[in-house]
């Protein structure tokens, strides 16, 4: 993992001192709210519905145990004993007091963490595949490049006032777990005749106008990463619209100008600035890479795993659902679900965070990850240690076997916390998860991605959920719109709107009808919801969602 050097530490200390002084000046009245707001946003501080909210960056979702312990400390000392992990691999604290925030930032600084550029029209936290460095299917670990991008983009003088926010995601595998096609820039490490480089995708995004990103370059040599990204952001900075907030993201710039024009301009700009990158970035990259060296993998017998797997059905179910293939023999990637049915998706208590940190220290080579699906990952665990690890998880309410299933729901904070929300998302997620748990159906249903947003901004990724739910305000009443067939992976697709929305008390029964229809329609238990949807189209699912309309003879099923 990347360790801060003297430069990083000095920069952060100074920045935190600046912010502390800004907070003081706000409190003593020398700064108005209008003056203070952009300053606090640059440091991750929002004012939400019931309180301030501090959003802390977890660069490319990677943490060590000391950092996770620090997140727990902040939750216990300054918040109400928990934190909320987000779809951008960040953590949000929902209840800090303004006076405490500078102390929180200083505490974070002691473990090399910050909240810089987690808001505002800047380049935001760079996200990555949460299985990076561990996945059996990757070309290379994408995190050194993500770290290079983090350093380049942090406080980059040219990019502090972009037309709108700018998000970059990186993956090292063909199987896309980082949603790179729904980011302003998506980068995929690819191999071409023995050389590693990047496929560069641009102009993806969700929100009001969802767009799937387009390929800008099929193969970018590794050494060109920074100048090429700088060229993209610089062209966006010039062409991106500032007259209309809803048309300001690069997806609209690409859409309005056309990918060819954007490509021409980026290549021209790239040719101009490339000579300025004289190799310092490559020296830096080499240093960073050394810090991401794979851990010393242990070689030991897997017998304890096999014994537990054969003897304990609860362990077996968890192992079958929550483990992923690791590149090292004998190892597994563990996904810890923080989506226990009925709980708030993405929330972990301070005590749970400490337990997970301890597990990482004991069994996980000191590494943890946060996934965009709002779960916690222990990327490197030897299979022999899994039974003991599972027992500890159980003791902390962290052993839910539901990764990838119907109760593993992405939900944004929605109107329970977010000032921009038009409806709640959390209780909808809680009720769906609880209902299908009662029905004991979720393992039978199999892989299913439900994603819920509390407004059109789509932080809950509803457009790319197999089932997407968008909460709206219809004449002063919460109303939920369903989209179907979305996909966040390498076969990315934006879901199709199923029809009129549902009231708050109608949405769970509607989902239940939808799932009943799927179970009936699928041609085998192996056919996932998304596959059945692709084979059959919207019509039969729509018929299940709107039975009354069909009974009245107005069936739109073709």
């Amino acid at each position: 993992m990347y360790q801060y050097n003297d430069f990083d530490t000095a920069f952060l200390t100074e920045r935190n001192a600046q912010f502390r002084a800004q907070v003081e000046r706000r409190i003593n009245g020398s700064l108005t709210e209008d003056e203070f707001k952009p300053l606090r946003l640059m440091n991750g501080v929002y004012l939400q519905l019931h309180a301030y909210m501090l959003r802390v960056a977890i660069p490319y979702g990677t943490l060590n145990s000391a950092q996770m312990d620090m997140l727990a400390h902040l939750a216990a000392k300054y918040d109400k004993g928990y934190g909320h992990f987000t779809t951008r691999q960040n953590i949000q604290y929902n209840w800090p007091k303004l006076r405490d925030i500078p102390d929180m930032l200083d505490d974070l600084g002691t473990v090399g963490m910050h909240a810089i550029q987690t808001s505002g029209n800047t380049i935001r936290n760079v996200t990555a595949d949460h299985f990076a460095g561990a996945a059996a299917d990757e070309v290379a670990d994408p995190r050194p490049y993500a770290e290079l991008l983090r350093q380049w983009s942090t406080d980059h003088p040219e990019f502090q006032f972009l037309p709108r926010k700018f998000k970059i995601a990186v993956t090292g595998a063909e199987a896309d777990r980082a949603v790179i096609r729904a980011h302003d820039i998506g980068l995929q490490l690819v191999e071409q005749v023995g050389e590693i480089g990047f496929r560069v995708i641009v102009g993806g995004g969700l929100g009001r106008t969802p767009m799937i990103g387009k390929v800008l370059r099929n193969f970018l040599p590794m050494a060109d990463l920074l100048p090429y990204c700088e060229a993209i952001v610089s062209i966006y900075n010039r062409l991106g619209r500032r007259d209309n907030k809803y048309k300001a993201r690069i997806k609209i710039t690409v859409h309005e100008n056309g990918i060819e024009t954007i490509r021409d301009q980026v290549e021209t700009r790239f040719a101009q600035i490339r000579p300025a990158f004289t190799g310092v970035d490559q020296t830096l990259l080499a240093d960073i890479k050394a810090q991401f060296a794979a851990p010393d993998f242990a070689k030991k017998s897997e017998a304890p795993f096999t014994a537990a797997y054969d003897a304990d059905p609860v362990f077996r179910s968890w192992a079958d659902t929550n483990l992923t293939a690791h590149k090292a023999p004998g190892y597994a990637i563990v996904s810890i679900s923080i989506k226990k049915q009925g709980d708030t998706p993405g929330d972990a208590t301070a005590e749970q965070m400490r337990a997970m940190a301890e597990l990482a220290r004991t069994y996980g080579h000191d590494e943890l990850r946060i996934s965009h699906e709002q779960n916690v990952i222990l990327p490197h665990v030897h299979r022999a240690d899994l039974p003991a690890l599972h027992a500890t998880l159980k003791a902390h309410g962290l052993a839910t076997s539901n990764i990838g299933l119907i109760s593993d729901i992405i939900a944004c904070p929605g109107m329970d916390y977010c000032a921009l929300a038009t409806a709640r998302s959390i209780p909808v997620a809680q009720q769906i998860a609880t209902r299908f748990d009662e029905l004991k159906l979720e393992h039978d249903i199999g892989e299913l991605k439900i994603k819920i947003s509390g407004c059109i901004n789509a932080c809950g990724h509803h457009h790319v959920g197999h089932i997407g739910i968008l909460g709206l305000d219809r004449a002063g009443v919460e109303n939920y719109q369903i989209t179907l067939g979305g996909d966040h992976t390498e076969t990315a697709a934006v879901g199709e709107r199923a029809g009129p929305g549902f009231a708050y008390d109608e949405i769970v029964p509607a989902i239940e009808r939808l799932i009943a229809a799927y179970l009936h329609l699928r041609n085998s238990p192996d056919e996932r919801f998304i596959d059945a949807y692709r084979r059959l189209g919207l019509a039969p699912f729509k018929a299940a969602l709107y039975p009354a309309v069909n009974a009245g003879g107005k069936a739109d099923a073709a």
């Binding site: 706000r26 409190i27 003593n28 009245g29 108005t32 709210e33 004012l47 939400q48 519905l49 019931h50 309180a51 301030y52 109400k80 929902n94 209840w95 800090p96 007091k97 303004l98 006076r99 708030t344 109107m415 329970d416 916390y417 929300a421 709640r424 959390i426 209780p427 809680q430 305000d473 002063g476 009443v477 919460e478």
Partner: protein
């Protein structure tokens, strides 16, 4: 024809605590909607709003929110602001409970 004025309360977030506050009849900021002054006169409401907007070192984001004649929120967003989130009793529900205990 101008639209008839409907009852309002003056609300904001507290600068230091961040939580939801309302203007009371005595001119102070209170945390409980039940103690807020229900404004039924438009001129009165506008004057209070302008005055409150001057209090930049106490409150943030002052606005008038619609309520019923009895002072109950008209929109569900204001309901949540008055009570707190629905997943935990961490907002005003917590202090209401504390008072009851």
């Amino acid at each position: 024809m101008t639209r008839a004025f409907t009852p309002k309360v003056l609300t904001a977030n507290h600068l230091l605590e961040g939580d939801v506050v309302y203007l009371s009849a005595s001119g102070g900021w209170v945390r409980d909607l039940a103690q807020a002054e229900v404004l039924t006169n438009e001129v009165d409401a506008q004057i209070r709003l302008i005055e409150a907007e001057q209090q930049v070192d106490t409150v943030v984001g002052v606005y008038l929110a619609d309520v019923t004649a009895e002072g109950q929120p008209k929109h569900f967003r204001e309901d949540f602001r008055a009570t707190g989130p629905s997943n935990y009793a961490h907002g005003k529900q917590a202090s209401t409970q504390a008072e009851l205990n």
